[in-house]
Symmetry: C2
Subunit: 565 residues, 2 copies
């Protein structure tokens, strides 16, 4: 796809997944890291450099082999990168050394963001750490506050929460000999993250906002999209975009942020490279964060929406696979359960199992977060999947309910249509007036159980369809059932004349056939098979009438009429 070679400083799992993306595009890569590091394992070139991204001479060696130099880790030797950039203008270094330098030192990173008007937690520099200076910080920021190492911190190492004045000695011991700064404690309700790709011309593309859940300061789970209101998702993307616009150079960036109780968003920190919170993109998005990085640093095309979810109903959970604390390789049992789980994919990094080491991750995809969570429950806790080893299509998609068993002869036609179209459905009695609590429960739980459309039949005062519609965001189809008086017009008006705000899709009196056909049309909006089946059904109806017309024309109306008797 491109004849240039990308050199990567660092050959861990992030480098490995960059190499995988580059391999797919025939793009040559060469790695600087220890021999047989994860990224080197999947690239058979003999040109790899054995060494370290912190050693100037090693960086100079790899620079000679490549056209573009990039990183999978920010703790690289920046002065060497700056020197190389100066000496060899043909060598592209992305992200730019200046960006890496700004981000490497977390306090400098904070100052840079503040200068650019980006919301971050209030921070103070600590040039000399001792009991007195940390006490003064406490007076300024309040307790608890977070004491952080300015450099070389990751997965919680280099952070210490100073709960109260008395914790200061422990803090000083834990972070001894590190350059420090302090941050006001952010009372967050969730941690969010957004991956951003920045092109060489400075355009930024945002992946969906995700929610990360940490255990012992290490990323444990990542929910995509984040389980926060849409506006917050959008705000997080805008904040992340603004932040990355302020850094020179290009490539992929991970932006971690806090979502506070009051709805505010604060940037926690930025990674100038692929990020653990973006691993879900491999399965959930059109283009993975790794390919996006390759495209960015080589200036390959980046169409709009290439960072979006693959389909409108994609949901994902990423689970990190860490080395078991006690038994080597025991974590593979989790991976095995993932292989048994529909919608789950396993990624292992070619690393030796060691306690708490990041050895791989599992991506779980589903058409709802609920489905993903059930699958996660099986993988984590062996909780059986709701319908183990059977097709997911047997989970009911349509709920057929009626106010009374006397409505069943009318609603029966709906059930037959759904059966003929092979749409999984459930049927039960829910009375608005005689079982009001059951009705509420049914309406509220329907969507959680995977129901997509509710068909409700009712006669007389016929409150069921409208009341159910009032308690669910699902589409509700109402079938007016003809009672002993008023010819069903009472039910029709009661069902159709809903107030503004709560629609009921009303069909003709007693015509539950049409209710089922409408439910199938609704499901067909996102299911091609059903859409095609409905097209065929319409054609067949047409053919049937045309056949009758031909017969009528052939045998004449009189004989036809006789044959109908």
């Amino acid at each position: 796809m491109d004849s240039r070679t990308i050199g990567i400083l660092g050959g861990g799992q992030l480098g490995r997944m960059i190499v995988e993306a580059a391999n797919r595009l025939n793009i040559k890569t060469v790695i600087l890291d220890a021999p047989n590091s994860p990224a080197k394992q999947i690239n058979a070139t003999v040109q790899h450099i054995d060494g370290s991204f912190a050693v100037p001479a090693d960086i100079e060696k790899i620079a000679k082999l490549c056209d573009v130099l990039t990183v999978e880790i920010e703790h690289v030797n920046v002065p060497t990168l700056k020197k190389l950039a100066k000496e060899n203008p043909n060598l592209k270094i992305y992200p730019s050394p200046e960006t890496i330098e700004l981000i490497q030192d977390k306090y400098t990173q904070k100052l840079h963001l503040i200068k650019n008007g980006i919301s971050v937690a209030q921070s103070v520099d600590i040039p000399e750490a001792n009991e007195q200076s940390l006490c003064e910080v406490g007076e300024k920021l309040g307790f608890p506050y977070v004491l952080k190492s300015r450099t070389l911190a990751y997965d919680g190492r280099g952070n210490f929460v100073v709960e109260k004045k008395e914790s200061i000695p422990d803090a000083l011991e834990a972070l001894a000999n590190r350059p420090l700064y302090a941050e006001k404690f952010a009372p967050f309700v969730k941690e969010l993250a957004v991956m951003i790709v920045r092109s060489i011309d400075g355009t930024v593309y945002s992946y969906p906002t995700v929610e990360t859940i940490h255990q012992d300061n290490i990323c444990h789970l990542c929910y995509a999209p984040a389980r926060v209101p849409d506006t917050i998702q959008l705000k997080a993307q805008i904040l992340a975009e603004s932040a990355i616009k302020s850094f020179p150079g290009c490539g992929i960036f991970g932006v971690e942020m806090f979502y506070l109780e009051d709805g505010e968003l604060l940037i926690n920190e930025i990674a100038p490279r692929p990020h653990n919170s973006g691993h879900y993109t491999i399965d959930a998005c059109v283009t993975s964060q790794f390919e996006a990085h390759v495209r960015a640093v080589l200036d390959l095309p980046m169409p709009n929406n290439f960072t979006s979810f693959s389909t409108s109903n994609t949901n994902a959970i990423m689970l990190n696979v860490l080395g078991d604390q006690n038994i080597k390789n025991k974590e593979l049992e989790t991976c095995k359960r993932a292989l048994e789980t529909p919608g789950a994919s396993v990624y292992l990094y070619g690393k030796e199992s060691r306690p708490k080491r990041k050895l791989g991750h599992i991506n779980i995809i589903g058409s709802s977060m609920d489905e993903c969570e059930r699958r996660l429950e099986y993988i984590l806790n062996e909780k059986p999947l709701p319908v183990p080893n059977t097709s997911t299509t047997t989970k009911p998609l349509v709920g057929v309910i009626m106010g009374s068993d006397s409505d069943l002869p009318v609603m029966n036609a709906a059930c037959n249509i759904l059966k003929n179209f092979e749409v999984p459905f459930e049927v039960t009695i829910v009375s608005a007036h005689r079982t009001p609590h059951r009705m509420s429960k049914y309406a509220i739980q329907a969507s959680q159980r995977g129901i997509k459309v509710i068909i409700a039949g009712a006669g007389g005062a016929a409150h069921l369809p409208g009341m159910v519609a009032a308690m669910t965001p699902l589409p509700v189809i109402g079938v007016p059932v003809k009672g002993s008086s008023l010819d069903g017009v009472d039910s029709l008006h009661s069902i159709v004349q809903m107030p503004r705000g709560i629609p009921v899709a009303t069909v003709a009196i007693n015509n539950s056939t049409n209710a089922a056909l409408l439910a199938i049309r609704i499901l067909g909006c996102s299911d091609n098979k059903l859409f095609n089946k409905m097209s065929q059904f319409l054609l067949k109806q047409e053919e049937e009438v045309l056949e009758k017309a031909a017969k009528l024309e052939t045998i004449g109306y009189q004989e036809y009429l006789d044959s109908m008797k």
Copy 2:
């Protein structure tokens, strides 16, 4: 994931993609093929064997290095595999040597399928090929018939269509020195293919039925799912499953078949390995054909549905990237356009560009086949994408139509709701009685244009909603518009009382607000964002009423009433 090593006979693109899948699972692979072959490039082990899968000594060398031996090509030396299987019962060979042997010789393959009751084209053996014997074949099968090499045929090489008696000398020359057999010409309308995974215990899992389009006997395009009726798709899967159940061993199999004019399906040929017609699975299915193969030969878990499309609205087209006929690497221009295309992913195989050589493939994913085809048009012919470089969400999803501009004051509310929910929509006038042809065109084309729901407002006789519903499989929502007489009950009854077979989702008189809210609930069935927005809307409505209730309770009914004046 598994400590066993897989040895692969052949290191072309199929082997490469098996290695990629194995790498993700930390499964060791070792390749027998020429140095630097595509599969070797992405596996840095030094254990690879340089040599050929046709040379017994080379096969014996690789067998010593692995626990499971598999193939990416069927033209391997079977006697050596049989010998190895006998000598070393610990070495697993999948697919089994017997299966490879049966499939290697296409005539033996045919006889095996016939013996197992599988539909294939009528075939006759040609022990000695000469003008007379080929003439006799023509008399038996009729002209045209297909003369085929029993062995070592691929991509059309080794096939010759004998149009008439006079073509026989050319046929003899083209296929000189090959073992031959003849097949009755199958008057097919489409070529279909199904990938099947067979587990060690003999269970078979079927991928979706696809349609392949060949150019110069080489696979050019693959449509997934195949553009044939559902029943044919299902029949094709069942036929493929039955065929693969008849072969011992396990692994992935490609089953190619003909779909004849009369609806019959005939198996053309079977490949005991990953297949070009299964490349779409990398992006379109939960698990790719390559990972499925790895799982099968190692007896790793294969959950139900792991071979299904990722989501219910996934559609895919695969385009092979062949070396340009005239200019080396010119085919990369096609790949570059694919990178520019939303939903497209490029896979290159690390091979040198040579005319017509399979160098890579492009997977195009879309939520409809129409969308995939438009993207393909851009990639192949630079035909601009309909809405280039803008979000796909701006494509209208809801069509708001009305019989007359006098309905606009009523329908206006629907537009405002759709705007507030940020659902892309279009508005126009379509009159059933005054523009009947425009109405037909609108109804028929709506789904092709990506419209998912139609809202139709009409007054009086109000035929528009029902007529549109009669001509589209989309859900149609009808809004009865109140006219100058009968208070809108005329429109209501005309819209709601549709005959069985054609549903119209009817809402209250003049209540286009509810029509829009219903449209959003329908879209919300497959769009989580909209589903959540609708939940929030219901909450907000509830809060508003609760606030009013609180106010009424606080200030009393009299003052409240006064404040309403």
